[in-house]
C-alpha cells in the first residue's frame, strides 16, 4: 500500500534525531543533530526548510554542512588543499587521484548567503570589493577568500577560463588582483566538428573536433604537473586511471539514484535532497570515499521506499524537469508544495554525471568529459539533452531557474524554452530565484502553480 512520507522541519528533525538515536543510530564522524548547524554555524536557512526524514538524508545534510570544518581538519592533518574553480567536475577527479590532496570548489560559497540568510554579509562585502549585485551570487566567494571565515585558504587555486561565465571569470580575476594566485587553464567553446574535420565522441551524446580535445588534454597536462608538484608525487596514468574509476563509482551510484527517483511513478526522495546529492558529483564534497557511502545509503533508502510504496509526493504530482541550480534551497521545497516533483534535472554539470570513458588514455578521457560541460557548448546542445531526459523520464513541465546576474542565463533560457516547446510541446517557465527568496515566495509560488496547473490540465485532455 502506498504511503506518503511526511517531510520534517527542523523541530521535527530534533524529535526524529532523538528517536533515531534511541534506536541505536550509527553516524559518521561528522554526524550529529541538524540543529547544531543553526546554533553553531548560523545556517539559519535550515529553519525554513522541509527535509526528508531518513537517516540517509541526515547523513547527506551533515556531510554537506560540515564541509568547511572537514577541510580545516584536513589542513590540520597536513593535507594540501586545492581550490578548483568553474570546471565543475574535472580537476577534482585528478586531485583526488593523488594522496594528501583535497579539492573543493570555492564556487560553492554561492550557497553561503542562502544558508546563513545573509547574516554572513558576504554579498555586501563583495560589493565593497568591487563586485556588486549585477554579478551572480557566486560573488560571495570573494569575501570568503578574504576573511578566511569559511573554507581554508587553498594551497593551489586552479580555474578554467575561456568558454566560461563572464561573472565567474571576472570575479576570479578580481580574486587574483587581490593577491590570490590562480593557475588558469583554457577551455575552448565546444562546437560541432566541421565536414572533413577530425572528431571525437564525448560523453553525453556529443562530438567535438579533435583539435579542441587536444587543446583541453594539453591544458590538463599542465594541471596534472601542477597537482603532482603540490602532492610531491607524480600523477602517472595508472594513478589517474584509478582516480577515474573511483569517480565513476560515484557517478554510477548517482545514475542509479537518479534513475530510481526520477523515473519512479512517485518520488521516493524529495527534490531538495536530490539537488544536494547531485552536487556531490562535482568534487565529492571534499571526501570521495564518504561520498560513496552517503550516496549508497540514499540509494538504499530510495530502493527500500520504492519496494514498500513509500513516497514523498503523491502519484498525482506533476513531473517537472528542473534546469539550473537554485540560489535559494527553499525553492526546491516550493516545487513540491505547489504540486510538483522532480523528474529530472540539469543542475549545470551534467558532464560530472556522465561516466568518464575507461577505455581511453586517462587524460584523453578526462579531456573529452570536460569538453562535454553543458556550459561550454552551444545552448542548443544543452537544450537537446534536456529534451532527451524529459522524454526518458516522462516530464510534464520544465522549470528554468535563472540565477540572478548570471551572464549565461540571459540567452540560454530562451533557447531551452523554445526547443522544449517546439519538440515536446511542454509548458516551460523561467523563474529568477535570489539567494534568500522569502519576499518573492508568493510570486514564485504563483508561477510554479501556473506551470503545474497547466500540466495537470493537459492530463485530462
Amino acid at each position: 500500500m502506498n504511503a506518503l512520507m511526511p517531510k520534517l522541519d527542523l523541530a521535527g528533525w530534533d524529535r526524529r534525531y532523538a528517536e533515531l538515536q534511541g534506536r541505536g543510530l550509527h553516524e559518521a564522524a561528522y554526524g550529529g543533530p541538524l540543529r547544531r548547524h543553526v546554533d553553531r554555524d548560523r545556517d539559519f536557512r535550515l529553519e525554513q526548510l522541509q527535509f526528508d526524514g531518513s537517516a540517509a538524508a541526515l547523513r547527506l545534510w551533515n556531510f554537506l554542512l560540515t564541509e568547511n570544518e572537514r577541510l580545516h581538519q584536513a589542513r590540520g592533518r597536513g593535507e594540501k588543499i586545492v581550490g578548483t574553480m568553474k570546471d565543475l567536475g574535472t580537476v577534482p577527479v585528478m586531485a583526488y587521484a593523488l594522496p594528501g590532496l583535497r579539492a573543493f570548489y570555492p564556487d560553492g560559497a554561492w550557497w553561503t548567503p542562502c544558508l546563513m540568510e545573509g547574516s554572513d554579509q558576504l554579498l555586501q562585502q563583495a560589493e565593497s570589493l568591487g563586485i556588486d549585485a549585477s554579478f551572480c551570487p557566486v560573488r560571495a566567494m570573494l569575501p570568503a577568500f578574504q576573511n578566511g571565515e569559511h573554507f581554508p585558504r587553498p594551497d593551489l587555486l586552479i580555474c578554467s577560463t575561456g568558454a566560461v561565465c563572464d561573472d565567474f571569470s571576472a570575479i576570479a580575476q578580481r580574486l587574483e588582483h587581490l593577491g590570490h594566485a590562480i593557475f588558469w587553464w583554457e577551455m575552448p567553446r565546444r562546437r560541432a566538428p566541421e565536414p572533413g574535420e577530425g572528431a571525437c565522441v564525448l560523453p553525453g551524446n556529443l562530438t567535438a573536433p579533435s583539435i579542441q580535445v587536444d587543446c583541453v588534454r594539453l591544458e590538463l597536462e599542465r594541471v596534472r604537473l601542477a597537482l603532482a608538484e603540490l602532492a610531491g608525487v607524480p600523477l602517472d596514468d595508472a594513478r589517474l586511471a584509478d582516480g577515474l574509476r573511483a569517480a565513476n563509482r560515484v557517478r554510477r551510484l548517482l545514475a542509479s539514484l537518479r534513475q530510481a527517483v526520477y523515473a519512479a511513478p512517485a518520488a521516493p526522495l524529495p527534490a531538495l535532497e536530490m539537488l544536494v546529492a547531485e552536487m556531490l558529483a562535482i568534487h565529492f564534497c571534499s571526501d570521495r570515499e564518504e561520498t560513496v557511502a552517503v550516496l549508497a545509503e540514499l540509494l538504499a533508502e530510495a530502493h527500500s521506499r520504492l519496494r514498500r510504496g513509500h513516497f514523498v509526493s503523491g502519484a498525482q504530482a506533476v513531473r517537472v524537469f528542473w534546469v539550473n541550480p537554485v540560489a535559494d534551497l527553499r525553492a526546491m521545497n516550493l516545487l513540491e508544495d505547489c504540486g510538483g516533483r522532480l523528474a529530472g534535472a540539469d543542475f549545470m554539470f551534467s558532464h560530472a554525471l556522465d561516466l568518464i570513458p575507461e577505455d581511453l588514455p586517462p587524460l584523453e578521457a578526462l579531456a573529452r568529459t570536460a569538453l562535454a560541460d553543458p556550459m561550454v557548448g552551444p545552448a542548443t546542445d544543452r537544450a537537446a539533452r534536456v529534451v532527451r531526459e524529459c522524454r526518458a523520464n516522462r516530464a510534464e513541465a520544465v522549470v528554468i531557474a535563472r540565477i540572478p546576474g548570471a551572464s549565461h542565463c540571459v540567452r540560454e533560457g530562451e533557447i531551452i524554452r523554445q526547443t522544449v516547446r517546439q519538440t515536446l510541446d511542454l509548458p516551460v517557465i523561467e523563474l529568477e530565484i535570489p539567494p534568500v527568496s522569502d519576499a518573492m515566495l508568493p510570486a514564485l509560488a504563483s508561477r510554479l502553480q501556473a506551470v503545474v496547473e497547466t500540466a495537470l490540465a493537459r492530463r485530462s485532455k
Binding site: 578580481r174 546576474g405 540571459v410
Partner: protein, 318 residues
C-alpha cells in the same frame, strides 16, 4: 561580400587576404542605430551585434568567444535566424595549446570565408595585407600620444573600416585635465563624449577602449611564413580585459598612463558587461587614479546625469 568583425582580435588582414571586404562592426553604418529592448542582464553591445547580424542579407558577422554575452549571442543569432555568422574562438590564455587553437581558428575562418566566395590567399597576398596593415598601425601608434582624441578615433575608425590610413593627424597641444578612457567599444555615436570631456575642462590623453589604441597592438616579426606571422602578431600582442590573467592590460595601461600623466580614468562600460565592470575597483587600486564608471546601453549618447557626473569628475581633478 562584406564581413563584419565583432572583435579587434579577429584579423581583418586575414579576411582581406581572402579577397573579401572586412569591417569592424563598431563603425558600421547600421550598427547601434536604435536602442534594443534588453532583458535583465543582457549586454547592450552584444544585443546590438545579434540584431545587426540578423539584419544582414548580404554580409556576414564574425562573433568572438571573448565573452559569454557575445558567445551566447551567436547561439541566439543562429538559433532564431538564418544569419551568416561565424563564432571565432579567441583564447583567454597564452598557453601553447591556446596558440595552436588560435591558428586553427584562423584556418577554420578561412574555410568559412571561402564558402562566402573568398579565395585561398597566397603567401604573397597575405604578406602584402600584413605589410599594409602593419604600416597603418605603426603610423597610428606613433601619432597616438600627440593626436587629438576625436581625430585619432576617426583615424582608427577608418582603419577598422577599410584598413587605410586617414590624412595625417596634426599634433595638438592639449589643454585641461588629461584623462584616459578605458573599456568596451566606443562607436561613432559615442564620440560626443570627447566634446563633453573637453567642455568640462579635460581631454582624452589615452583611448584604451576596444576601439582605441589597444587595437593597434598587433605587430609583425619578419618571418617567412606569413600565417605564422599573423598568428603570433595577434596572439602575442592581444591586450584585453578577457585575457587570463589580464595583467597584460594593466602593464599596457600603466606605461601609457604614466607617460601621458593621466590624472583620472573613465571606465566605459556597456550595461551587462561583467568583464569590464568588474575591473572598476582594480583599475583604481592598480593605477592609483580615480575612476569614473560610465555605463551605456543605447545609441542615444550620454544621459544628462552622466554628463553631470563627468563634469564633476573633471572639476575635482582640476
Amino acid at each position: 561580400m562584406r564581413v563584419f568583425l565583432a572583435s579587434p582580435w579577429i584579423p581583418a588582414e586575414w579576411v582581406r587576404a581572402h579577397g573579401l571586404e572586412s569591417e569592424g562592426i563598431w563603425f558600421a553604418e547600421a550598427f547601434r542605430r536604435s536602442t534594443p529592448p534588453l532583458s535583465a542582464g543582457n549586454c547592450a553591445f552584444a544585443e546590438n551585434v545579434v540584431q545587426f547580424a540578423e539584419s544582414q542579407a548580404d554580409a556576414a558577422v564574425v562573433f568572438p568567444t571573448a565573452c559569454d554575452q557575445l558567445r551566447r549571442g551567436y547561439d541566439a543569432a543562429v538559433f532564431r535566424s538564418s544569419a551568416r555568422a561565424f563564432l571565432f574562438n579567441v583564447p583567454a590564455t597564452q598557453t601553447p595549446a591556446a596558440r595552436r587553437l588560435y591558428r586553427a581558428e584562423l584556418e577554420r575562418l578561412g574555410n568559412f570565408l571561402r564558402q562566402l566566395g573568398g579565395t585561398t590567399p597566397t603567401p604573397e597576398r597575405l604578406g602584402a595585407e600584413l605589410d599594409a596593415a602593419g604600416q597603418v598601425r605603426s603610423a597610428l601608434r606613433t601619432i597616438a600620444p600627440f593626436a587629438e582624441a576625436r581625430s585619432l578615433a576617426r583615424a582608427v575608425a577608418r582603419f577598422c573600416r577599410d584598413g587605410s590610413l586617414a590624412e595625417p593627424l596634426p599634433p595638438t597641444i592639449p589643454k585641461g585635465v588629461p584623462l584616459a578612457i578605458v573599456g568596451g567599444p566606443l562607436s561613432q555615436a559615442d564620440w560626443p563624449l570627447f566634446d563633453v570631456i573637453a567642455a568640462a575642462g579635460g581631454f582624452v590623453a589615452l583611448n584604451g577602449t576596444d576601439t582605441g589604441e589597444r587595437i593597434l597592438c598587433p605587430t609583425w616579426e619578419n618571418r617567412p611564413d606569413p600565417l605564422a606571422v599573423l598568428v603570433d602578431g595577434y596572439f602575442d600582442h592581444l591586450v584585453d580585459v578577457f585575457r587570463r590573467p589580464n595583467t597584460g592590460l594593466y602593464a599596457w595601461l600603466q606605461e601609457r598612463l604614466s607617460a601621458r600623466q593621466v590624472r583620472g580614468i573613465v571606465l566605459w562600460c556597456f550595461t551587462g558587461c561583467d568583464l569590464w565592470r568588474a575591473e572598476w575597483q582594480t583599475l583604481r587600486e592598480a593605477c592609483h587614479l580615480p575612476v569614473l564608471l560610465l555605463e551605456t546601453d543605447d545609441a542615444a549618447g550620454l544621459a544628462p546625469r552622466d554628463v553631470s557626473r563627468l563634469q564633476a569628475f573633471v572639476e575635482t581633478l582640476q
